[in-house]
Symmetry: D2
Subunit: 129 residues, 4 copies
C-alpha cells in the first residue's frame, strides 16, 4: 500500500459504515466531514461521543500515514467534548503537533458550523520503527 493513495476512507471499513468522508488531505493536514443522521445519536438525541472520537482517530491515522513513511497506528485517543450537536454537518481538521520517527502526536478539532464540538489528541506509533 502506498500511503499517498489513501485519499478516501476505504469502502467496507468502519468509517464508511458511519458516513465519514475525507474532504482534503495533504502533508500535515487532513479535513474530513460527516452529515449527522439519527443513527449517530445516543438516546438523548445528541451525537454519541464515540462519533467524535472515531472521526478524530480516523482523520489522524490517515493524516499520519499520508504525511510520513512507516505504518502508523493509534496508541492513545484523548477526546474532550466541548459542545453537543443534534444535527447538521461535523467538520474535522487535524494537524501534527510532533512528527518523530517512532511516534507522532496530532490534534483534531471538530466543528459544527462556528461551534467547536470536540478536541482530540491522538498519539501514533510506527510499527516499522
Amino acid at each position: 500500500m502506498n500511503n499517498k493513495d489513501m485519499i478516501q476512507f476505504v469502502d467496507g471499513t468502519f468509517d464508511s459504515l458511519y458516513g465519514h468522508k475525507v474532504i482534503d488531505i495533504k502533508e500535515k493536514y487532513i479535513k474530513t466531514e460527516l452529515t449527522i443522521k439519527s443513527d449517530h445519536h445516543q438516546p438523548m438525541g445528541l451525537v454519541h461521543g464515540g462519533v467524535y472520537s472515531s472521526m478524530a482517530e480516523a482523520a489522524i491515522s490517515y493524516g499520519a500515514n499520508f504525511s510520513q513513511e512507516g505504518v502508523w497506528v493509534g496508541v492513545n485517543n484523548n477526546t474532550d467534548f466541548i459542545k453537543s450537536s443534534q444535527q447538521g454537518k461535523l467538520v474535522c481538521e487535524a494537524e501534527p503537533i510532533k512528527m518523530g520517527k517512532r511516534s507522532q502526536l496530532w490534534e483534531a478539532k471538530i466543528y459544527n458550523g462556528e461551534n467547536i464540538c470536540a478536541i482530540s489528541k491522538v498519539r501514533l506509533s510506527n510499527l516499522n520503527a
Copy 2:
C-alpha cells in the same frame, strides 16, 4: 426517562448501527459486547480505534446514568489501545472510579478472549447539577 429502564442500547442509535449490545447492567457495573465484523475494521484489517472508544463511551454513559440520579454526559474520553484485534468478540466491562454529585469518573476494559485490547477512562458531568 427512568434511568433504570435503559437496559439495552436503543434501536436507531449509534450503538445499534455498529452492533454494540448490553450483556449485564447493575449498580456500578456494566458489561457489553460486540461481535467483530469487517465493517469494524480500518484499512489494515484491524478493529478501528474508534470502535473501542465508542464502546467505552456508551457502556460508561449507560452505567453512569443507571447508577446515579441525574443526566450524565461524557466530557472526556481517554482510551489507550493495548493490543489490536482482527476477529472474534470484544467484551467491555466498566466500573466507577469516583461517583460525585457533579462528576463521575469510570474505567472500561475491553477484552478479546484473554487479551486486553483497550483501557478507557470516561469522565461525565451532571447536566442537572
Copy 3:
C-alpha cells in the same frame, strides 16, 4: 479571598518551592516562567516531567480562578512531553478552551526559547457549583 488578588504564586506553597513565577495574568490568559536549575532535573539531566505538569497545573488553576467566579480545582491534568530541556528558561502560556459554570477546560503550552517542550490540558471543577 478575592480571585483578582492572586497575581503571584503564594510564598510557602509548592510553586515557590520549585521557583515558578507569574509574569502576566489577565482574563482568559496567564503567562508564567521558571529558570531551570539542576534540582528541576531527573537523573538523566533532563527537566523532570513533573515540572511541566506542575507548571501547567498551577498556571491554569490561577488563570481559571482569576477569570471566573467560583472556587476552581483541577480534576484532570493531561500533559504531553514534546521536547526535553536541560537548561534555560521555561515559559508557560495558558488560555481557556471552554469556560462553563461547572467546568473549565484550559490548555497550556510550555516553551524553551523557540521550542515547544510540553502541551497540557487541565480540566477544573467549581466547588461552589
Copy 4:
C-alpha cells in the same frame, strides 16, 4: 548507568527537592511515598496537583527503567485527581499495563491512608529503540 542501581531517587534531582522517596522497587512494581508539608500545598491548603503528577511520573519512570532494558522517558502523563489531601503521607504504587519494546504504559495509584487521591497513567518511549 545500570538500571538496577536506581533504587532511590537521586540527590539533587527534583524528587529530592520535594521529598519523594522510593520504598520498594522490583520488576513491574514500585512503591514510593511523600510526607506532606506545607510547601506541597497550593494556596487553599490542599496538596498541589503537580505533586501527584510528579510522584506518578517519577515512580513510573524509575519502575520502567528498572523493569526493562532501554532508556525510557515519559511522553504523556495523564492524572485524575480523585480526592484532595491536606496532611499525612501519600503512598504511590505503580505497575505496568503494557511493556512493549518501543513503548511502556504504566498506571500509578496514590493513596492517603485508605483514600485514593489520584490515578495516573504514564506512557514511556524507549530512546534506544
